[in-house]
Symmetry: C2
Amino acid sequence: MSFEELVFDVFARNCTSRPVMDTVASRWGILSLVALQDGTHRFNELRRRVDGVSEKMLSQTLHALERDGLVLRTVQSTIPPRVEYSLTDAGRRIATKLTELIELLEASMPDISVAQARYDEAR
Amino acid sequence: MSFEELVFDVFARNCTSRPVMDTVASRWGILSLVALQDGTHRFNELRRRVDGVSEKMLSQTLHALERDGLVLRTVQSTIPPRVEYSLTDAGRRIATKLTELIELLEASMPDISVAQARYDEAR
DNA sequence: CTGCATCCATAATGATACTG
DNA sequence: CAGTATCATTATGGATGCAG
Protein backbone atom coordinates (compact mmCIF):
# COMPACT_ATOMS: atom_id res chain seq x y z
CA MET A 1 0.00 0.00 0.00
CA SER A 2 1.52 3.32 -1.04
CA PHE A 3 0.28 6.86 -0.50
CA GLU A 4 3.53 8.47 -1.59
CA GLU A 5 2.26 9.89 -4.86
CA LEU A 6 -0.95 11.33 -3.44
CA VAL A 7 -1.32 14.99 -2.63
CA PHE A 8 -3.08 15.85 0.61
CA ASP A 9 -4.86 19.16 0.94
CA VAL A 10 -6.76 20.18 4.07
CA PHE A 11 -8.56 22.83 2.04
CA ALA A 12 -10.33 20.13 0.04
CA ARG A 13 -13.65 19.16 1.54
CA ASN A 14 -13.18 15.40 1.28
CA CYS A 15 -9.43 15.06 1.77
CA THR A 16 -8.57 12.38 4.33
CA SER A 17 -6.30 14.90 6.06
CA ARG A 18 -9.38 16.84 7.23
CA PRO A 19 -10.51 14.48 10.02
CA VAL A 20 -6.89 14.05 11.11
CA MET A 21 -6.49 17.80 11.36
CA ASP A 22 -9.75 17.98 13.32
CA THR A 23 -8.44 15.45 15.83
CA VAL A 24 -4.99 16.99 16.18
CA ALA A 25 -6.21 20.57 16.40
CA SER A 26 -9.20 19.81 18.60
CA ARG A 27 -9.37 21.37 22.04
CA TRP A 28 -8.22 18.20 23.78
CA GLY A 29 -6.04 16.88 20.95
CA ILE A 30 -3.66 19.82 21.15
CA LEU A 31 -3.38 19.72 24.92
CA SER A 32 -2.98 15.92 25.03
CA LEU A 33 -0.19 15.91 22.46
CA VAL A 34 1.66 18.75 24.14
CA ALA A 35 1.19 17.19 27.59
CA LEU A 36 2.94 14.07 26.30
CA GLN A 37 5.95 15.99 25.03
CA ASP A 38 8.01 15.54 28.17
CA GLY A 39 7.63 11.79 28.20
CA THR A 40 5.35 8.94 29.09
CA HIS A 41 2.25 9.51 31.20
CA ARG A 42 -0.59 7.48 32.64
CA PHE A 43 -4.25 8.16 32.05
CA ASN A 44 -5.09 9.95 35.27
CA GLU A 45 -1.85 11.85 35.15
CA LEU A 46 -2.91 13.29 31.79
CA ARG A 47 -6.38 13.91 33.13
CA ARG A 48 -4.98 16.10 35.90
CA ARG A 49 -2.62 17.87 33.54
CA VAL A 50 -5.20 18.65 30.88
CA ASP A 51 -7.33 20.64 33.25
CA GLY A 52 -11.05 20.34 32.61
CA VAL A 53 -11.08 17.34 30.30
CA SER A 54 -13.68 14.69 31.05
CA GLU A 55 -12.77 11.02 31.29
CA LYS A 56 -14.82 10.35 28.24
CA MET A 57 -13.26 13.01 26.04
CA LEU A 58 -9.70 12.19 27.08
CA SER A 59 -10.26 8.52 26.36
CA GLN A 60 -11.84 9.32 23.00
CA THR A 61 -9.08 11.75 22.07
CA LEU A 62 -6.25 9.40 23.00
CA HIS A 63 -7.80 6.57 21.00
CA ALA A 64 -8.18 8.78 17.95
CA LEU A 65 -4.55 9.90 18.25
CA GLU A 66 -3.47 6.30 18.67
CA ARG A 67 -5.35 5.34 15.53
CA ASP A 68 -3.59 8.14 13.65
CA GLY A 69 -0.23 6.76 14.76
CA LEU A 70 0.66 9.85 16.80
CA VAL A 71 0.29 8.34 20.25
CA LEU A 72 1.53 5.00 21.50
CA ARG A 73 -0.53 3.16 24.12
CA THR A 74 1.05 0.38 26.15
CA VAL A 75 -0.82 -1.78 28.63
CA GLN A 76 0.67 -3.78 31.46
CA SER A 77 -1.96 -6.29 32.51
CA THR A 78 -1.04 -6.17 36.16
CA ILE A 79 -3.46 -5.61 39.00
CA PRO A 80 -4.05 -2.75 39.14
CA PRO A 81 -3.45 -2.28 35.41
CA ARG A 82 -0.91 0.26 34.27
CA VAL A 83 -1.59 2.02 30.97
CA GLU A 84 0.99 4.39 29.58
CA TYR A 85 0.80 6.90 26.77
CA SER A 86 3.68 8.36 24.82
CA LEU A 87 4.35 10.06 21.49
CA THR A 88 5.47 8.35 18.31
CA ASP A 89 8.05 10.09 16.11
CA ALA A 90 5.30 11.62 13.99
CA GLY A 91 3.45 12.62 17.15
CA ARG A 92 6.54 14.29 18.53
CA ARG A 93 7.07 16.33 15.37
CA ILE A 94 3.50 17.57 15.45
CA ALA A 95 3.55 18.21 19.20
CA THR A 96 6.65 20.35 18.77
CA LYS A 97 4.83 22.51 16.25
CA LEU A 98 1.78 22.72 18.51
CA THR A 99 3.97 23.86 21.39
CA GLU A 100 5.32 26.65 19.21
CA LEU A 101 1.75 27.64 18.38
CA ILE A 102 0.77 27.68 22.04
CA GLU A 103 3.78 29.77 22.99
CA LEU A 104 3.06 32.22 20.21
CA LEU A 105 -0.58 32.48 21.19
CA GLU A 106 0.15 32.90 24.89
CA ALA A 107 2.69 35.59 24.04
CA SER A 108 0.02 37.33 21.94
CA MET A 109 -2.61 37.20 24.67
CA PRO A 110 -1.94 40.70 26.03
CA ASP A 111 -2.65 42.18 22.58
CA ILE A 112 -5.60 39.88 22.08
CA SER A 113 -7.14 40.81 25.43
CA VAL A 114 -6.89 44.48 24.57
CA ALA A 115 -8.50 43.87 21.17
CA GLN A 116 -11.35 41.93 22.77
CA ALA A 117 -11.98 44.64 25.33
CA ARG A 118 -12.01 47.29 22.62
CA TYR A 119 -14.35 45.22 20.44
CA ASP A 120 -16.79 44.48 23.27
CA GLU A 121 -16.68 48.13 24.32
CA ALA A 122 -17.85 49.18 20.88
CA ARG A 123 -21.17 47.28 21.10
CA MET B 1 -5.33 48.50 31.23
CA SER B 2 -2.30 46.25 31.38
CA PHE B 3 -2.02 42.49 30.94
CA GLU B 4 1.76 42.47 30.74
CA GLU B 5 2.40 40.91 34.11
CA LEU B 6 -0.17 38.13 33.75
CA VAL B 7 0.80 34.60 32.84
CA PHE B 8 -1.41 32.84 30.33
CA ASP B 9 -1.63 29.06 30.36
CA VAL B 10 -3.87 27.10 28.01
CA PHE B 11 -3.58 24.11 30.30
CA ALA B 12 -5.50 25.95 33.00
CA ARG B 13 -9.22 25.34 32.84
CA ASN B 14 -10.30 28.93 33.22
CA CYS B 15 -7.46 30.80 31.50
CA THR B 16 -8.75 33.36 29.01
CA SER B 17 -6.39 31.93 26.41
CA ARG B 18 -8.55 28.78 26.23
CA PRO B 19 -11.45 30.21 24.19
CA VAL B 20 -8.97 32.04 21.96
CA MET B 21 -7.14 28.80 21.29
CA ASP B 22 -10.46 27.11 20.57
CA THR B 23 -11.28 29.75 17.97
CA VAL B 24 -7.86 29.79 16.34
CA ALA B 25 -7.43 26.03 16.27
CA SER B 26 -11.01 25.26 15.30
CA ARG B 27 -11.67 23.50 12.02
CA TRP B 28 -12.66 26.72 10.25
CA GLY B 29 -10.42 29.06 12.25
CA ILE B 30 -7.26 27.41 10.98
CA LEU B 31 -8.38 27.33 7.37
CA SER B 32 -9.70 30.90 7.44
CA LEU B 33 -6.48 32.32 8.88
CA VAL B 34 -4.32 30.39 6.43
CA ALA B 35 -6.57 31.32 3.51
CA LEU B 36 -5.99 34.99 4.36
CA GLN B 37 -2.22 34.63 4.35
CA ASP B 38 -1.79 35.67 0.73
CA GLY B 39 -3.70 38.89 1.14
CA THR B 40 -7.15 40.42 1.32
CA HIS B 41 -10.22 38.41 0.41
CA ARG B 42 -13.96 38.91 0.23
CA PHE B 43 -16.52 36.79 2.03
CA ASN B 44 -17.60 34.57 -0.85
CA GLU B 45 -14.03 34.24 -2.04
CA LEU B 46 -13.13 32.77 1.33
CA ARG B 47 -16.22 30.61 1.23
CA ARG B 48 -15.09 29.02 -2.01
CA ARG B 49 -11.54 28.64 -0.78
CA VAL B 50 -12.43 27.03 2.53
CA ASP B 51 -14.20 24.14 0.88
CA GLY B 52 -17.22 22.88 2.81
CA VAL B 53 -17.70 25.75 5.26
CA SER B 54 -21.26 26.95 5.73
CA GLU B 55 -22.15 30.63 5.50
CA LYS B 56 -23.03 30.64 9.15
CA MET B 57 -19.80 29.09 10.39
CA LEU B 58 -17.59 31.27 8.19
CA SER B 59 -19.40 34.37 9.37
CA GLN B 60 -19.19 33.27 12.99
CA THR B 61 -15.51 32.32 12.70
CA LEU B 62 -14.50 35.58 11.01
CA HIS B 63 -16.33 37.62 13.63
CA ALA B 64 -14.60 35.73 16.44
CA LEU B 65 -11.20 36.23 14.80
CA GLU B 66 -11.98 39.91 14.32
CA ARG B 67 -12.87 40.22 17.99
CA ASP B 68 -9.55 38.59 18.92
CA GLY B 69 -7.71 41.16 16.81
CA LEU B 70 -6.38 38.61 14.35
CA VAL B 71 -8.53 39.52 11.37
CA LEU B 72 -9.36 42.97 10.04
CA ARG B 73 -12.78 43.55 8.49
CA THR B 74 -13.41 46.53 6.25
CA VAL B 75 -16.79 47.43 4.81
CA GLN B 76 -17.48 49.61 1.78
CA SER B 77 -21.16 50.53 1.90
CA THR B 78 -21.65 50.46 -1.83
CA ILE B 79 -24.38 48.56 -3.65
CA PRO B 80 -23.64 45.71 -3.75
CA PRO B 81 -21.65 45.97 -0.52
CA ARG B 82 -17.99 45.04 -0.55
CA VAL B 83 -16.57 43.52 2.61
CA GLU B 84 -12.90 42.65 2.77
CA TYR B 85 -11.01 40.52 5.25
CA SER B 86 -7.28 40.58 5.93
CA LEU B 87 -4.84 39.60 8.67
CA THR B 88 -3.51 41.87 11.37
CA ASP B 89 0.14 41.57 12.41
CA ALA B 90 -0.76 39.19 15.22
CA GLY B 91 -2.98 37.24 12.84
CA ARG B 92 -0.16 36.94 10.34
CA ARG B 93 2.22 35.56 12.94
CA ILE B 94 -0.27 32.93 14.02
CA ALA B 95 -1.25 32.09 10.45
CA THR B 96 2.40 31.48 9.61
CA LYS B 97 2.65 28.95 12.43
CA LEU B 98 -0.60 27.29 11.34
CA THR B 99 0.73 26.96 7.82
CA GLU B 100 3.78 25.17 9.16
CA LEU B 101 1.48 22.86 11.10
CA ILE B 102 -0.58 22.10 8.00
CA GLU B 103 2.50 21.42 5.92
CA LEU B 104 3.87 19.10 8.58
CA LEU B 105 0.60 17.27 8.89
CA GLU B 106 0.12 16.90 5.14
CA ALA B 107 3.67 15.60 4.86
CA SER B 108 2.89 13.08 7.61
CA MET B 109 -0.31 11.86 5.98
CA PRO B 110 1.27 8.88 4.20
CA ASP B 111 2.47 7.52 7.55
CA ILE B 112 -0.81 8.39 9.21
CA SER B 113 -2.86 6.64 6.53
CA VAL B 114 -0.80 3.49 6.97
CA ALA B 115 -1.24 3.65 10.74
CA GLN B 116 -5.00 4.08 10.39
CA ALA B 117 -5.27 1.14 8.00
CA ARG B 118 -3.24 -1.06 10.32
CA TYR B 119 -5.33 0.02 13.33
CA ASP B 120 -8.65 -0.58 11.59
CA GLU B 121 -7.40 -3.88 10.27
CA ALA B 122 -6.70 -5.06 13.82
CA ARG B 123 -10.41 -4.81 14.90
C1' DC C 1 -6.49 1.83 38.72
C1' DT C 2 -8.14 2.22 34.07
C1' DG C 3 -11.26 2.59 31.70
C1' DC C 4 -15.90 1.41 28.70
C1' DA C 5 -21.23 1.75 28.44
C1' DT C 6 -25.20 4.31 29.03
C1' DC C 7 -28.36 8.05 29.77
C1' DC C 8 -29.34 12.78 29.68
C1' DA C 9 -28.62 17.87 29.04
C1' DT C 10 -26.54 21.29 26.56
C1' DA C 11 -23.69 23.39 22.97
C1' DA C 12 -21.77 23.41 18.30
C1' DT C 13 -22.66 22.77 13.59
C1' DG C 14 -25.09 22.51 9.27
C1' DA C 15 -28.91 23.22 5.58
C1' DT C 16 -32.11 26.23 4.04
C1' DA C 17 -34.73 30.32 3.39
C1' DC C 18 -34.83 35.10 3.58
C1' DT C 19 -33.25 40.44 3.95
C1' DG C 20 -30.79 45.12 3.15
C1' DC D 1 -22.94 40.47 -2.16
C1' DA D 2 -22.94 39.64 2.53
C1' DG D 3 -24.88 38.21 5.62
C1' DT D 4 -29.06 36.95 9.51
C1' DA D 5 -32.86 33.78 11.18
C1' DT D 6 -34.68 29.47 11.75
C1' DC D 7 -34.84 24.76 12.37
C1' DA D 8 -32.73 20.01 12.29
C1' DT D 9 -28.80 17.36 13.32
C1' DT D 10 -24.64 16.22 15.61
C1' DA D 11 -20.98 16.70 19.00
C1' DT D 12 -19.71 17.32 23.48
C1' DG D 13 -19.97 17.12 28.49
C1' DG D 14 -21.43 15.30 33.09
C1' DA D 15 -22.98 11.61 35.96
C1' DT D 16 -23.36 7.08 37.08
C1' DG D 17 -22.65 2.16 37.08
C1' DC D 18 -19.81 -1.67 36.02
C1' DA D 19 -15.70 -4.74 34.49
C1' DG D 20 -10.83 -6.57 34.15
